[in-house]
Symmetry: C2
Subunit: 321 residues, 2 copies
């Protein structure tokens, strides 16, 4: 039998900035450790201070390089930075370990930086399950900024960056029709646009196109407007880092002053509570009648004698006893 963890001790060490304790807590979260509830209970009073920044964009725009640049800039401002690099876990994309190591190289010896890759395959609801818990660990551990980075290849990958207070969408010149095709979705999720590789041909056109899109959309939040800024960077040379950090701070201030920060966080907390409740209910559904009820209903659906909605009704009725 496993020895129970000293959760209180571990959380205490994380609050004191121990990277080992932070890493261990995130691992607990990822593997749904039996003491997960105890961990969440110990962490939650210490959360709410960090700025949560999501960073996404299509493959090849330089997300790793931009992340590394942003870390350097925030460190120069003496801010502690936690990074969660989320792996979309397609069977065709392989692991995220390489990116992790490459980024680690530059910041590995800096105790004010914590970088962690998370694979999300097999979790209920994809990314929605473990990621908010990992964010909570970093928030409680006193990181001033928590970056959540993922490649924008599918809906669930994009949803994860919306765990953040501020979402940065990274683009690059020469995506051509890509921006046109994508504009509705991208406009919806972005608080800040960064055009990376801005020294390349086509950068002016990309920036112009984005600004036209933004001008046409005019997002309104209860009478307050946030016009999404477009920042140019050449992340490989560190150009534009201060501007990105500047608009992030500006957006945080805007969120705060309009009550929008609270609204975003409450919406996310509601989603998280709901996801946990559904996870627990799902486990109960599978256990009904000693685990046999679902199998019996499935058999009837395959044989064509019961439709899946009627089967689901029987299942939820049985849950209520």
């Amino acid at each position: 039998m496993a020895v129970p963890l000293d959760v209180e001790g571990l959380v205490g060490q994380a609050l004191q900035h121990s990277p080992r304790a932070v890493a261990k807590l995130i691992s607990l979260v990822e593997h749904a450790h039996p003491q997960l509830r105890e961990v969440a209970r110990a962490l939650v009073p210490h959360t709410g201070r960090a700025q949560l920044v999501g960073l996404t964009g299509p493959p090849g725009v330089g997300k790793s390089t931009a992340t590394s640049m942003l870390i350097s800039e925030l460190r120069a401002q003496d801010k502690r930075v936690g990074v969660l690099a989320i792996d979309p876990s397609s069977p065709f994309s392989g692991g995220a370990l390489l990116g992790d190591r490459v980024r680690m190289a530059e910041h590995a010896t800096d105790s004010g930086v914590f970088i962690r890759s998370m694979a999300t395959r097999g979790h209920l609801g994809g990314l929605s399950w473990a990621t908010p818990q990992a964010v909570r660990v970093l928030d409680a551990a006193g990181f001033d900024v928590v970056l959540i980075e993922t490649v924008g290849v599918g809906q669930s990958e994009v949803d994860v960056v919306r765990l953040a207070d501020t979402t940065v969408v990274l683009l690059a010149p020469g995506m051509g029709d890509g921006i046109q095709a994508a504009k509705a979705g991208v406009l919806e999720i972005a608080d800040v646009f960064v055009v990376n590789k801005a020294d390349r041909d086509g950068a002016d056109a990309t920036v112009r196109e984005l600004k036209q899109m933004i001008a046409m959309s005019r997002r309104e939040l209860r009478g307050h407007y946030w016009r999404q800024p477009v920042v140019r960077t050449v992340a490989a040379r560190g150009e534009g880092a201060a501007e990105v950090a500047g608009v992030l701070a500006e957006h945080r201030g805007w969120l705060d002053s309009h009550g929008e920060l609270y609204r975003r966080r409450a919406t996310r907390a509601g989603g998280e509570i709901e996801a946990i409740a559904l996870h627990d209910l799902r486990a109960e559904l599978g256990d009904l009648h000693g685990g046999d009820l679902l199998a019996e209903l499935a058999d009837q659906v395959v044989r064509g004698s019961l439709d899946p909605y009627a089967a689901a009704d029987r299942l939820t009725r049985s849950l209520r006893g």
Copy 2:
């Protein structure tokens, strides 16, 4: 107020192969029409006959062309073919309408072919919600083969092809390290490998690499082995079509003879029932205390006075009354 649909009439027309009725039923499913349950009840006694084939692969391997080739081959064998082209709905990928139209052009006048693109954004559980219902429509409407096609960019996109009895993974030469990196995930989902663009340099190497991976994996199903075949195609010229159709028929026979077809379908039906039950429970959770309970709990989590697990417990307790 909307006039109630004549569900029985519509399903009757679909059973008589009316493409208009089939299209209408899939639209009902996609938009979660109030009479959805009635539709499912009318369809389910007529299902179970079609062979469900999933087709996936990374971007650029020629999935549309391969699908079109396979349609032509199956039509030459006088089989009716239904196609669901699933759009992963990334904000960066735009819509799937173009692919639909391109494919439609060749088979548009053939009453034995029905092609439909489905966007899946915003559905609970991503693709898991509407797709099985749409498959059920096509199955009941007497299509001999139902192809479910999607690009393999994220986990949920790949999960959808596993709604099929037989999953085809399409690859192309020159993916280089891609196959190596991807091998674990790809081996797990594929029943059949197709190496398209087999007239290109590197085709031999890709086929050899795949065969080595397969030889090392040896999947066992209760003492029975299915060694995944590797078929070469040049879909743009129709080469290899008969071979692909042949291995699909062979795999169907193998599934049948080992009871595996039933097991796969029962597992899927169980997942579908569970998804519907969870969808209904989720709606109930949001309605508790006149819709206020979840918001109150979320507020406490944001303020750090309650952890999300304890909040979820209160929510599920309240569900039970």
